[in-house]
Structure formats: C-alpha cells, structure tokens
C-alpha cells in the first residue's frame, strides 16, 4: 500500500482527480441526462455493484471469459509450438491460419448464435476464437526463433525430439507466449462484452446495453467503470504473475552483458 502513494504516483493520482473534477463541473453545468455528474455515477456504482447484481451480472461474464481464454491459450500455444518448430507443419497449416485469423472475431458471433445458441458456450467459443490468434502467432514466432546454438546443444546431448520441444523450445518461447497471452487477454475482454451485447440474457455487456435502452444512464456508466476496473485488475494480475514466472527473462534483459 505504501508504494501506491509515492511521489511518482502522486502526479498520476492528481491527474485523475483533476479529470474527475472537470467532469463533475461540466456535467453539473450541462445538466444533461446523458452526462451525469461523477457523484451520481459513483453513488449508483456503489449501490449497484456492492449488491447481488455483482453475482448476477459480473460473475457470469468473468466465468465465460476465463474459460474461453483458457481454451484459447491451450489451443493457441499447442498449435503455435507445432507450427513454429516444424517446417512441414508450418507449410501445411499456415495458409489456413492466415485466412482464419483475418476474420474479425465479432463477425463470428452470428455464426456462433446459429450453431451454438445464446448460452455460455457460444460466448466461450467466440472469446476463444478471438483471443487465440495473438497467442498462437506469438507462440509460433517464439518457437521459430530459438537460437540454433540451443537446438544444436540439445542434439549434441542426445535429446529426443520431444525432449528438445519440452526442455528447450518451450522455455525459450515463453517470453513471446506471455506477450501473446497478454494481448489475448485484452481481446477476450472485448469479446465478452460484445458477445453479451448481441446474444445474451445476462452479463456485463447485456447489462450496459439494456441500461442504455432503458435510459438507466448512471447505471450504464457504472457498468463501464466496473468493466474498466475488472480489466485493470486482471491485466495487473497477469503482469505480476508473468514477472514471477519470467523472472529470468526480465533479469536478463535488464542487464545487457
């Protein structure tokens, strides 16, 4: 907690406070129903989200997102390692993958609705489809760019192809895999909101859209603030975990030898 209030953060906090104050003042002057003051949004936020609404709306969203993201990671990393470490695999799969990745994931939602319906599964599939690509591509690059000296060393020491994959290629690729997963996380976030706006009966996306349609404007803003907070927390958590697992990578890049 101490570190949140050091000098560097003081200016960041001050900027946020000034922006919020500016919003408050402008909104109070405008008196527009579409731009409620910060105070109203804050009050609505506390009222809504420290209540069962959180469990009803936020938790399903998080659940779908995490499951979809998990599958995206498993599939993306597996295929990525395969095409990154094997030239024949690359030649075989790359054209298909290049085509599929070009499809904006949002365009897949109608297909998902037709084939799977508007339940949890559709959202998970759509999230997985969207967030898989950066993970897959970064993993493939990471696997492809293992220094030949390391691969030669593994061959020299008599490692089997599988051992080389597990003990040399995958560890070498983890920094790039992590970078792909971070991007994938942002996409998963976008996809959950979009898929819930288009085909859902609950969730944060649904909540925001229905708030807009029923003119529950402060609730709408409150929902957006919640999504922002959740996204920030997830991303921060991810970066924290990444820095622990990849301590060797950050240590290495911090001191050029």
């Amino acid at each position: 907690m101490q570190r949140l209030f050091n000098r560097g953060n003081a200016s960041a906090v001050a900027t946020v406070v000034i922006l919020l104050a500016a919003w408050q003042i402008i909104a109070s002057i405008m008196k527009s129903v579409y731009v409620p003051p910060v105070s109203v949004i804050a009050a609505t936020f506390v009222h809504e989200w420290f209540s069962p609404t959180f469990g009803q709306q936020a938790v399903p969203s998080l659940y779908r997102m995490i499951v979809g993201y998990f599958f995206a990671s498993v599939v993306g990393i597996t295929i990525g390692i395969m095409i990154g470490s094997s030239k024949p695999m690359y030649r075989l799969l790359d054209p298909v993958l290049q085509f599929l990745r070009a499809i904006p994931p949002t365009a897949i939602i109608p297909v998902g609705i037709l084939l799977i319906g508007i339940g949890d599964q559709m959202k998970m599939v759509v999230i997985a489809f969207g967030s898989m690509w950066p993970i897959l591509i970064n993993t493939a690059d990471g696997a492809r760019l293992v220094p030949t000296e390391r691969l030669d060393t593994a061959r020299n020491f008599g490692l089997t192809r599988f051992e080389t994959l597990l003990r040399v290629i995958v560890p070498s690729a983890t920094p790039m895999i992590a970078a792909g997963m971070r991007t994938g996380l942002s996409i998963a976030f976008i996809m959950i909101v979009v898929s819930e706006m288009i085909g859902s009966t609950d969730g944060l996306g649904y909540y925001i859209l229905s708030a807009q349609r029923t003119f529950a404007i402060p609730e709408m803003y409150g929902g957006i603030v919640l999504i922002a907070i959740l996204g920030y927390l997830l991303n921060t958590g991810f970066v924290w975990a990444e820095h622990r697992v990849l301590a060797w990578h950050y240590g290495q890049t911090a001191r050029p030898v």
Partner: protein
C-alpha cells in the same frame, strides 16, 4: 588429482576428404583431411570465412558432409555421438537463461539414467569447480561476465564427460586477459580429465600456444594447407612459452602460409616476413 597423461599415438578421430556444400550451392569446405589422437590438443587455424564453424559442426555430425566421412574410433558417425561435445563461440545464445549455472551444467546429464540425482549433482559440481565457478553455481548465466559465461558453457561440456571437446572460436568474444585464463583452463581440463581438444580459431598465437598439432586451412573453399607439429615444452606457460624462439618461428611460419594466398582473392594480411629458417616445413609427423 591431476595426471598429465601424454597424448597417445592412437588416432581416435579421422576426418577423410570432407566436403560440405550449402543448400544454395556454395562450397564451404572443399576437402579437409585431418586426424586427432587421444588426449591431443589440435587446433585448426585459418582466415575468416573459411568455413571453420561448418567444419566443426560437420565433424560432430550436426551437419552431414556432402562428400567424405568422419570416423570416430574407426566407426563412421552420422548422428552427434556421445563422445563429442561442441562449445560454441556465442555463449549467450547457447546457454539456457531460464536455468541457473548448476541447472545448465546438469543439463547434459538428463539422459544418464545410470546416475542418481545426487550423483548428477556431484558430477555437475565437479565440473563447476574445474572451471572455478563454485561460488556462482546458483547464479543465472546472464548475471555473469562474458568470460564466466563461457566457463559455464565449458563446464557444461565437461559434465557431459566427452572424449573429445570441439571448440568453435570459444575465446573470440572475450577480452585478451580473460582469453589467456580460458586458454590455460582448456589445457588444465585436458590434463585433469584427459579430454582430447579440437579447437578452431583465427588467432594464430593461440593455436601455437595451446596445441600439439596445428592444421592450417586455406581461404574458402577450404583445404588443409599444412599440418604442423608444435614441439614446444609442456606444460605451456603464457609468458615463458610465448617468448620461446620456437614459438615465434612457428607463428611466423603460419602467418606466412596464410598470408601467401593473397592471390586466391582473400584479403591480404599485413604481417612480418616469415623467418628464413623454415625448419618445420614439410616435417612429417611420426
């Protein structure tokens, strides 16, 4: 315990008419024939670009020759054999940054099912001690200086318990003082562990200092220009050996050999003239 076993006269590595052409058609190695005896220190010296790295990788079967063959103990090899280990020039690219020094040095022992984990750790510990890095066993390689990292790579090679260590310009990326230390380290390892050394370098002085025999390569596409025996006194010493008159004669001779081939399109060396008494030219090896 250090037992200085003299190099034997048994040829353990036989490279015969080796040729290596890249997939794009360039001829890297035209024809190389050389041999290495047990516990010998053999250097291969030649100008830059003469395919020395390719040659070493072909010798330990990481690459396959376009023509010719490599025989280890009389057997032709087609896969990297457990008796040989290659130490790369670029230690940063060959060491594993996610493992500590101990982790890296233990890595070659993965396949040794005959050793218990405790025995593996002991073997790694011994290798780390042999290169004087005991204090840094728990460090990561990237926390260490360049010379120390190369020591880690060498310790890893030693832990593999090879018969022959191939070194690809291993000291090119370190400063001169460190290089002297590492040169002496390889001599020590040869004495202490009885490992045969095959070292590739562009540094003629280094080749003469370290070796029992030197093979001089031509400019690319490379062939063996000459094989030279180095009869300087053992054990070698950085100051004493390098001041011997024999040392200067040998190095000048080699300089002359490599410098002579200017007409082959190679960049010219600016060298002192070779000493007139080329007493070693044409000397046959017993």
């Amino acid at each position: 315990m250090s037992s200085t076993l003299a190099p034997s006269s048994d040829i353990i590595l036989d490279v015969d008419g080796l040729q290596k052409r890249y997939s794009d058609g360039t001829l890297a190695v035209q024809e190389i024939t050389l041999d290495v005896r047990a516990r010998e220190f053999v250097s291969i010296v030649g100008p830059s670009g003469c395919g020395k790295t390719t040659l070493l990788k072909t010798i330990c079967a990481l690459l396959s020759p376009t023509q010719g063959q490599v025989k280890l103990h009389g057997q032709k090899i087609s896969e990297p054999p457990p008796q040989m280990v290659l130490v790369f020039q670029d230690y940063a690219r060959s060491l594993f940054p996610w493992l500590t020094v101990m982790g890296n040095v233990m890595f070659p022992l993965r396949r040794r099912k005959d050793l218990s984990p405790a025995e593996k750790e002991q073997a790694a510990q011994r290798a780390i001690e042999a290169v004087s890095l005991t204090r840094f066993a728990k460090h990561y390689p990237w926390q260490l200086s360049g010379g120390m990292q190369q020591r880690v790579a060498i310790a890893r090679a030693v832990a593999f318990r090879p018969e022959i260590m191939l070194l690809d310009e291993p000291f090119a990326s370190v400063d001169a003082l460190t290089r002297a230390d590492l040169e002496d380290l390889t001599l020590q390892l040869r004495d202490e562990f009885g490992i045969t050394m095959l070292l590739v370098t562009h540094d003629i002085d280094e080749a003469v200092y370290l070796s029992d025999r030197v093979f001089v390569l031509s400019a690319p596409p490379s062939t063996v220009l000459e094989q030279i025996r180095i009869p300087l006194a053992q054990p070698r010493d950085q100051v004493r050996t390098r001041s011997e008159p024999g040392f200067l004669e040998l190095r000048n001779h080699i300089h002359g050999l490599i410098g002579k081939r200017k007409d082959d399109g190679m960049k010219s060396f600016v060298l002192p003239e070779a000493a007139p008494a080329l007493t070693l030219e044409g000397e046959t090896v017993p």
